[in-house]
């Protein structure tokens, strides 16, 4: 066991930092630190810059056009990006469908889809959840019926993040309704421009538009767009979910969250001093800081095991649980730190579409929207209760 960084890793971190300094647009960076909503361009321009550098698919092996980094390099890359205020890499292409395609796809599919993912020329979204299939994902009902060289797809997906920005969607569809739920599912790639697809926004409480309903009405999809064999889509689904759970702990972002919480506490006045002089509040920050560090250590251990060969195991479910709880706790503490000035609702400040000035301090307007938005973390990516069931069954043998 050796926890120190080697000199070449330090040099690597410097290289990444220099790249971010040079490349990340100041306006995008400013949004990150102000907690404001990004536009599509913020994401796409940043991801394409990473793509040109060859770093966007940073978890991919060399063979498929990734940089072939070791666990430490990935860890450093994620941390430097978060520290420097880069937007989160949207996972649907590089972290989700990409690895599914290079693991389960055929050569033609790899050639056709991987370049657009690596360069972020093509934006992806995820068609998993349905109105009747949430925690019980295998209950999904979106139907794909074979018709010669095509499938005809009918049904509905929901909670589809960034579907309104996406060029393509990967979907779990039911190709055989007569077998066991998990066995009749296939993994399909759909061009969002195909006739019959409708995207309907779901608007959040704070006015933000992240998620959507996606409707499929006799959508014609070439059989060549199916990944893996028909009826074996559940294998892809599980593979993808385990990958999702790993990144979903959002440790680098939470580390940044702790720092910005400290910054807020240093500026918020209390009893003629600042909130950072209140030992009880400082103790709360210290506690969440410890939890973040503990989680980081657990994630490193999981990564380290993966480095020795092997896919992420069911233990990553615990990372998702703790990571989501920490994100919520950080948002709660930020609300507590901001105090009364968390109340004014200033959507213009969040979306940068007005010149209005903030009513309280600059950091106040996003606090409440973020607090409410973070309620999702213990539900999405498989609810925390589902994760606990997984650990209970797969790790503890209960």
């Amino acid at each position: 066991m050796d926890l120190a960084l080697k000199p070449e890793h330090k040099a690597f971190a410097d290289e990444v930092r220099a790249f971010v300094h040079k490349t990340l647009l100041p306006a995008t960076k400013a949004k990150t630190f102000a907690g404001k909503h990004y536009g599509r361009d913020d994401h796409v321009e940043w991801q394409q810059a990473l793509g040109r550098q060859g770093w966007l698919p940073y978890t991919w092996p060399k063979k498929y056009g990734g940089p072939g980094w070791d666990v430490t390099q990935r860890f450093l890359f994620e941390n430097v990006l978060a520290e420097e205020g880069a937007p989160r890499i949207i996972p649907f292409g590089v972290k989700m469908v990409g690895p599914v395609i290079y693991t389960f796809g055929n050569d033609e599919q790899k050639e056709r889809f991987l370049p657009g993912i690596r360069s972020s020329e093509v934006q992806w979204c995820q068609g998993y959840s349905e109105p009747g299939a949430g925690s019980d994902l295998a209950n999904l009902r979106t139907r794909a019926v074979r018709d010669g060289d095509h499938y005809i797809v009918n049904g509905q997906k929901t909670w589809t993040s960034f579907a309104h920005w996406a060029d393509w969607i990967f979907c779990l569809v039911r190709t055989d309704p007569d077998t066991k739920p998990q066995e009749g599912i296939s993994f399909l790639l759909l061009d969002m421009k195909t006739p019959g697809i409708t995207v309907r926004p779901i608007i959040m409480m704070d006015g933000a538009h992240h998620v959507n309903d996606v409707f499929f009405d006799n959508v014609k999809v070439p059989v060549a767009n199916r990944i893996g064999k028909e009826g074996e889509g559940w294998t892809c689904a599980k593979f993808l979910l385990a990958n999702e759970r790993l990144g979903i702990a959002e440790v680098p972002a939470s580390k940044r969250g702790v720092r910005s919480l400290r910054d807020i506490a240093r500026t918020e006045p209390q009893d003629g001093r600042t909130l950072a002089d209140d030992p009880a509040f400082v103790a709360k920050i210290a506690e969440i800081d410890l939890q973040v560090q503990a989680l980081e250590m657990s994630e490193l251990r999981a990564l380290s095991t993966m480095a020795l060969g092997g896919a992420p195991g069911p233990e990553v479910s615990t990372l998702k649980i703790r990571g989501s709880e920490i994100q919520q706790r950080l948002a709660e503490l930020a609300m507590e730190a901001v105090g009364e000035y968390a109340q004014p609702y200033q959507p213009g400040m969040l979306f940068q579409n007005t010149n209005e000035t903030p009513i309280g301090p600059d950091h106040a307007p996003p606090a409440a929207p973020r607090y409410f938005n973070m309620r999702k973390t213990s539900i999405y990516g498989g609810s925390n209760e589902i994760q606990k069931n997984i650990v209970s069954k797969m790790v503890l043998g209960l």
Binding site: D2, L3, A286, L290, A294, L295, M297, L300, R301, S304
Partner: protein, 331 residues
């Protein structure tokens, strides 16, 4: 950065695990608790023979060149059986401070025999008012000829009754709670003017209240520089905290394993109680807590780790139906 154990470290872990399995079955432990000193010479000798008493020290100090990771590996296994031999006060605290601040003569006289299993130590820092402030020390050491005279009180000194030497944190100058003005003295466990009140602790270790009434020591009893002991103590205590955290994680693992076994076998309502989702989720919380408690490995100089880990242990001990009852019936 590499989080896996080296081959030597794995061997160490295996050996420590075997030691605990062989020597610390619950009934055995009760027998050891009931002995006069509360620990066994044969176990201590075996630890010396296995090299555990010297593994964390530099080779030039007579050790085997390991570090805090090795200490943690052993302590984690000790936690699984709540080992009673005074490894922490003697090796981690006493040995640690002598290695960090001792003169070559002190290292030869104290550290070398400790590594061979022939000397034990205790560290006396706490006083009634100190709480967790290491600098809240009022026991006074005053100049007396070439040497010093110590007077005052020290509390909850682990292993004082068995220790050949007691390392005493004393005030040589400065006001209450000042970090500057503290010095360390190596005092013979049987020194004239030193009286003890010995007692067992809640976890069946042994500790003492010590009263120093003009205890005289020579100039060579000073460990490190006069008035400048605080950083030495702070570092030793940080290392001890990490060692304790490792012990606690081992303890949690053992409790979790016992509880898991119990909820798989204890039947109510016709099924093992582990079939109930509410208990499954509690068990997952215990398991996750134990995993998370492992983190101080990365940054061992972090005292704050302590409260976090202790809370996790408390959570783990506050187990489910029955599991805790076994613990209650333990002593």
């Amino acid at each position: 950065m590499d989080l896996s154990l080296s081959d030597e470290q794995k061997q160490l872990q295996d050996a420590a695990e075997r030691f605990v399995r062989d020597k610390y079955a619950f009934e055995n432990r009760r027998k050891i608790v009931a002995t006069d000193r509360g620990w066994l010479t044969e176990n201590w000798t075996q630890m010396a023979e296995l090299g555990w008493l010297g593994m964390a020290f530099k080779e030039e100090d007579g050790g085997y060149g390991g570090g805090p990771i090795e200490t943690m590996i052993v302590m984690e296994q000790f936690g699984k059986g709540l080992v009673l031999e005074p490894f922490l006060p003697t090796v981690v605290l006493g040995g640690g401070m002598i290695a960090a601040a001792g003169s070559p003569a002190q290292k030869e006289a104290l550290l070398a025999p400790m590594i061979e299993g022939k000397k034990q130590f205790a560290f006396a820092w706490l006083e009634r008012q100190s709480r967790y402030n290491l600098a809240d020390v009022s026991l006074k050491a005053t100049k007396e000829g070439n040497g010093w005279s110590l007077s005052g009180h020290k509390g909850v000194v682990y292993n004082a009754a068995s220790a050949d030497n007691i390392i005493v944190l004393a005030r040589t100058s400065g006001g209450a709670r000042e970090e500057k003005g503290l010095s360390l003295f190596v005092v013979d466990g049987k020194a004239k003017g030193l009286t003890r009140r010995d007692y067992p602790t809640q976890d069946s270790l042994r500790a003492s209240e010590l009263t120093f009434d003009k205890v005289s020591v020579g100039a060579d009893a000073v460990l490190g520089k006069v008035d400048a002991a605080f950083p030495v103590v702070e570092e030793a205590v940080d290392r001890a905290i990490v060692a304790l955290c490792a012990e606690a994680t081992g303890c949690m693992d053992a409790i979790n394993a016992a509880t898991l076994e119990y909820i798989k076998t204890r039947k109510q309502f016709g099924v093992p109680i582990g079939k109930f989702q509410v208990l499954q989720h509690r068990m997952v919380d215990c398991f996750t807590n134990a995993q998370e408690a492992r983190w101080p490995a990365r940054d061992w100089k972090c005292s704050a780790a302590r409260s976090h880990v202790i809370r996790l242990v408390a959570d783990a001990i506050a187990l489910m139906n029955g599991g805790y009852l076994k613990l209650l019936r333990g002593r």
